[in-house]
């Protein structure tokens, strides 16, 4: 029973982690709480859905399409809600990205309608028994995609030239620029990566819940934020681990305490971190000086 719940928690946590990665990457390079990220997730889910329904695409094409569409949305977000806003007023981009959130959500309602839309079966539903644990093919698929993405991202950030440039930019824009990094370009690429991953998370969420609506962004945004804080601001591996952790905590609390208290526990955790460990479980990657 407990193992079964842990597997379920891992599943839930994987999508939390994917959302939080974008938050924390973007927070890392811009020190900006990017509010519209949950809506990017929602748009990703719809792009995936429509590729499957209208385009007859298979799930891999849908994932790739959502990823590319959301990466482009990330670029648009930078141009409309980050660059035009005064840099020396820290609250300004926060407000402008809240504005983007409202615009995206209303656009989605306008285009897709306000009701829940069913997600067709794209991954053949099969159940596998490993002793007492039952795992579905959908669960395995989601976990495999999420894990692959996280490993690839980690390798990219740790071991490529652009990954190093992102880390350098996150630490100090001036220092990065003095080493030849085009900081604006790195910020753009970071938004593309974070948004693309959120798009994939949206499609995976659609598959898992077999339905999506224009209002799934807010919940995703809140969970992503909690995970980012839990993992430490700007800390990418921290977000990965914290995402899985939060997923497990939620599932376990739902299983053993009650389903209605699931979100209650998330928010309790948020409050506890803010009170007792504002740097997160694994330390923040914020620059101490300046």
């Amino acid at each position: 029973m407990i193992y079964q719940q842990l597997i379920n928690g891992l599943m839930l946590g994987a999508s939390y982690a994917l959302i939080a990665i974008g938050y924390t990457l973007i927070f890392g390079v811009l020190k900006l709480l990017y509010f519209a990220h949950g809506e990017v997730f929602m748009v990703g889910a719809f792009v995936g859905l429509y590729l499957v329904i209208l385009g007859g695409a298979n799930i891999y094409v849908a994932l790739l399409g959502a990823m590319i569409a959301c990466a482009m949305l990330g670029v648009i977000a930078v141009y409309v809600s980050v660059r035009p806003v005064a840099k020396n007023r820290p609250l300004a981009p926060l407000i402008s990205t809240i504005g983007l959130t409202i615009v995206l959500q209303n656009l989605a309602v306008y285009i897709f309608g306000g009701q829940q839309v069913g997600f067709p079966e794209t991954v053949k539903q099969e159940l596998y028994n490993f002793g007492p644990i039952t795992v579905s093919s959908v669960q395995i698929f989601i976990l495999a995609i999420a894990t692959t993405l996280m490993v690839v991202l980690w390798l990219f950030i740790e071991h490529t030239k652009m990954g190093r440039a992102i880390r350098a930019t996150a630490e100090n824009h001036e220092t990065a620029a003095l080493l030849g990094v085009n900081v604006n370009r790195v910020v753009l690429i970071t938004f593309m990566i974070g948004s693309g991953i959120a798009g994939v998370a949206g499609v995976l969420d659609g598959i898992k819940n077999s339905g999506i609506s224009p209002f799934i962004g807010l919940g995703a945004a809140v969970k992503g934020l909690i995970v980012m804080l839990l993992g430490g601001l700007g800390n990418v591996p921290g977000a990965m681990v914290a995402g899985l952790l939060l997923g497990m905590i939620e599932i376990l609390s739902a299983a053993y305490i009650g389903t209605t208290e699931r979100d209650f526990f998330s928010f309790m955790i948020l409050i506890l971190i803010l009170l007792y460990r504002p740097t997160g479980l694994f330390g923040t990657r914020m620059t101490e000086e300046r």
């Binding site: 030239k161 190093r164 440039a165 880390r167 350098a168 630490e171 100090n172 001036e174 220092t175 990065a176 620029a177 003095l178 080493l179 030849g180 990094v181 085009n182 900081v183 990657r285």
Partner: protein
Amino acid sequence: MTVLTIQGLRSGYGRIEVLHDVAVSIERGQIVTLIGANGAGKTTFLKTISGLIRATAGTIEFEGKSIECLPPHKIVGLGLSLVPEGRAVLKRMTVMDNLRMGAFTRSDPDIARDIDAVFDRFPVLAERWNQLAGTLSGGEQQMLAIGRALVARPSLLLLDEPSLGLAPKFVTRIFQTLRDLKSEGKTILLVEQNARQALQVADSAYVLERGKIVLSGSGESLLNTPEVQETYLGQRAARSHGIRIPTFQVDGIA
């Protein structure tokens, strides 16, 4: 051959002008030093050359190209590297990653060799290659910052007070490194408050006071200039000769 020619340079922050009509030129293979007290505008000068601050007037010509309108990353790409004040190493990255970042503008196959050359120059960095730069001592961080700039293979290296806040043995080490670099043919613009040692290594020197160049000449001639001795070298001998010592204004300190 002149590597850098600066004329009529004005620069500052917002409406506050810090540099007023500054002119400096640097010949290939030389160490040129700019000395001045805290708040004189030395850092502002280097930041303006590197493109971090936009000049409001004047020209900066680097190897025949005007660079006063270029963003910093383009200027680095042309071969002008700044080692910023306060050892701006990337503290959360390893020593090795810092050095690799130094080669960010390059894409040739010799990067690894140049990183090895930094390790030869500063063996302590080789021992700590996999440590986070933030765990290094101040002197080691300064070596890393210099090494990282060298990996970019700059044709002009700018250094902002590399000896500031370092233990004497590291100060000696840094100045020795500058001599080594000169003998290897590198061109260096050194900004210092440590005027004596800076003037000793410099081929030519400028004195910056409140945003203006007030004196210039060979390093040796400035070492022997009474005004410089009184104000920057702390020689009070002048007093016994009955010469008035000018009161020195320290800007930037409230």
